[in-house]
């Protein structure tokens, strides 16, 4: 029992990301409104970003910005304590991922607008009905 609690607390970020991801996935598949699906899509993507950020975290680490001692211009590699700084690589990757997600979001909204113009609704089943009824 204690182990389980330790496991849950020790990795709570990972549990959170799984929950969020599943919420997003559920929304993409099950929701009927196209905009709701889009929101689900974004939640899904942010969940993955959360996962990456969690990978990079180090307990007791600080921001990945090197502190250069006062009066110095630079700092020698040997004097840097690696465990002091959080892993920067996942951050970089996720910056890219955020940008990708906002780009996709913009394009998807534009397409949703086009759909609304054509069908005057954003409900998927109504659109399908219109398509079939044609």
């Amino acid at each position: 029992m204690e182990l389980l609690i330790k496991e849950i607390i020790g990795k709570y970020n990972y549990w959170l990301y799984i929950i969020l991801m599943m919420i997003g996935l559920y929304a993409i598949i099950a929701k009927n409104n196209l905009i709701k699906k889009l929101v689900g899509m974004n939640i899904f993507q942010t969940a993955i970003i959360l996962f990456y950020i969690s990978i990079g975290y180090k307990k007791g680490g600080t921001l990945p910005i090197i502190e250069i001692p006062h009066g110095h211009h630079t700092i020698s590699p040997e004097s840097i304590d690696i465990s002091k700084y959080i892993n920067p690589l996942p951050h970089v990757l996720m910056l890219t991922a955020i940008v990708v997600s906002v780009a996709t979001f913009g394009v998807a909204l534009a397409i949703a607008l086009k759909i609304y113009k054509e069908y005057n609704t954003l409900e998927e089943d109504e659109i399908r009905m219109r398509l079939r009824g044609k």
Partner: protein
């Protein structure tokens, strides 16, 4: 290994930079957009040929971006497999420009320039996906490709394309995110993103559950993007309603590049040992791909719209390649790779012919194709050649890839897959001869002048650039078939990893 070679980077950079130029030029002089696009892709094409040549003469090429050594920075790693596919992608992209410029001016009279910019970005994305040696870089380029594909598809048929495209976005994003998640798991367990480095590090992690999940998510993500059978739902509508000029390039290249990515992940990242000795899923994947082959064929039979029929053929062909790659022997993989090459050309030719028909006939239902052979003889000739290739009649190329696939399946004792392949050929016969019967032999009397047939009688051959394009591709289909022995022994077999 050669280092500091300028051509690998030119392949990707030229279309990219020219995409910006084309966008800028759009506001200055719209007439310059097309020539610039052609120039960009030509340079890319030539560079990829040179690159392939140097790969052939001196082995794998490595290009360090930013000058950083691989695990630190991003690298390009070009071996035979992606060398060949690069040449094919840039060729198809270039060729499509010649066959479709009038189509583009017809569809997008005002936004032609920006369309070409998008087209260039799409090409860049595909080339980048193929050339890169970095897992995350692949994701970014995949997104460029997908994003430009979503936009291009949404520009198609006014009524149905946006909806199809939005559905594609939803499912495509799930696919890409799954891939990203898989890469995240790999990164967490190994700490690296470089393919070669990961392949090296993964050796000690064969029994890790996280690596297994990473593998599953990467592969499923790629499958979603390539539309393997149960994950294919986005494909038929999206490709059917895409504008002709883009559909022609998206349909043949997108799925095939994803198959390439799958092969790359399987053989260059996870490794044969992991795939076939640690995991025991190849059997079920072959069942899945057999199902895909059959499902695609059967669904294609039930379609009335010519283009939609072609999209289901793509789904069926995807099954061929996935099955071949998972057979786990040399011949099967050879067949899968050969089929990638062949299928690019076959699908391209299919969509070319559909585009030519659509240029004259608005609604591409099969019954509208009555007697089309008389009206558009050259297009129909091209169409017949492609159809024969898809059925798998020698000496067209489709026969030879099918040959290797079946041979591989026999070696691997996957009898279900053999049956699926053969049944699919038979389904394709019915599929295409149903069209031929309509198009070759009309039951109508020859001279008819009623009101509804008048517009029909006016149908004539599509513009010369489209027709000649189709015929050239038809000839290429036969040439590839005849030289498939050389292709296999020179371009494919050296890539096949040892121990397979």
């Amino acid at each position: 290994m050669i280092d500091n070679h300028v051509f690998p980077i030119l392949i990707v950079i030229t279309p990219l930079v020219c995409a910006f130029f084309v966008m800028g030029l759009y506001w200055v002089d719209k007439r310059l957009c097309l020539p610039l696009t052609i120039l960009a892709i030509s340079i890319s094409f030539i560079s990829s040929i040179i690159t392939l040549y140097s790969v052939l003469t001196s082995g794998t090429i490595q290009y360090k971006l930013g000058g950083w050594p691989p695990p630190i920075g991003i690298e390009y790693r070009i071996d035979l497999l992606n060398g060949v596919i690069l040449v094919i992608i840039s060729f198809i992209s270039l060729f499509n420009l010649f066959t479709s410029f009038n189509q583009v001016s017809h569809d997008f009279p005002e936004k032609k320039g920006t369309f070409y910019s998008l087209y260039l970005l799409f090409t860049t994305g595909l080339l980048g996906v193929v050339i890169t040696g970095d897992l995350f870089n692949l994701y970014v380029l995949l997104e460029i490709t997908s994003l430009s594909a979503y936009a291009q598809i949404a520009l198609g048929d006014k009524k149905r394309a946006p909806f199809a495209s939005l559905n594609y976005i939803f499912i495509g994003v799930i696919g890409a995110s799954f891939y990203l998640l898989g890469v995240g798991y790999i990164y967490m367990m190994t700490g690296s993103l470089n393919m070669g480095d990961v392949a090296h590090l993964i050796h000690n992690l064969h029994h890790s559950q996280a690596i297994f999940v990473a593998f599953i998510f990467c592969i499923v993500g790629v499958w979603i993007k390539m539309a393997l059978f149960p994950l294919h739902i986005w494909l038929p509508n999206a490709y059917t309603y895409a504008p002709t000029a883009s559909g022609r390039i998206i349909a043949p290249l997108m799925t095939k590049v994803m198959v390439y990515v799958m092969i790359r992940l399987m053989y260059s990242v996870f490794g044969i040992d992991y795939l076939f000795n640690t995991l025991h899923i190849s059997q079920s994947i072959i069942y899945l791909s057999s199902a895909a082959v059959l499902f695609g064929g059967i669904m294609a039979l039930s379609q009335d719209n010519l283009k939609k029929m072609f999209t289901y053929i793509i789904i069926s062909e995807i099954g061929y390649m996935v099955g071949g790659a998972w057979l786990g022997n040399k011949t099967g993989l050879t067949g899968a790779i050969l089929h990638i090459i062949n299928d690019v050309f076959m699908t391209f030719a299919l969509f070319l012919s559909a585009g030519n028909f659509a240029w004259r006939i608005k609604d591409l239902s099969i019954h509208n194709l009555e007697d089309i052979f008389q009206k558009m003889p050259w297009t129909s000739t091209g169409f017949v050649v492609v159809a024969l290739s898809i059925i798998g009649i020698p000496p067209t190329c489709g026969f030879f890839s099918k040959w290797y696939l079946i041979l591989g399946a026999i070696e691997a004792k996957q009898y279900l897959f053999i049956i699926a392949l053969i049944l699919s050929s038979l389904l394709n016969i019915i599929l295409f001869f149903r069209v031929f019967e309509k198009s070759l032999f009309s039951s109508k009397p020859h001279v008819m002048e009623s009101k509804e047939t008048r517009s029909y009688n006016l149908i004539e051959e599509a513009p010369a650039n489209m027709t000649i394009g189709l015929l050239v591709i038809g000839a290429i289909l036969i040439l590839i078939g005849l030289y498939s022995g050389k292709i296999v022994s020179n371009l494919i077999l050296p890539f096949i990893p040892k121990g397979l």
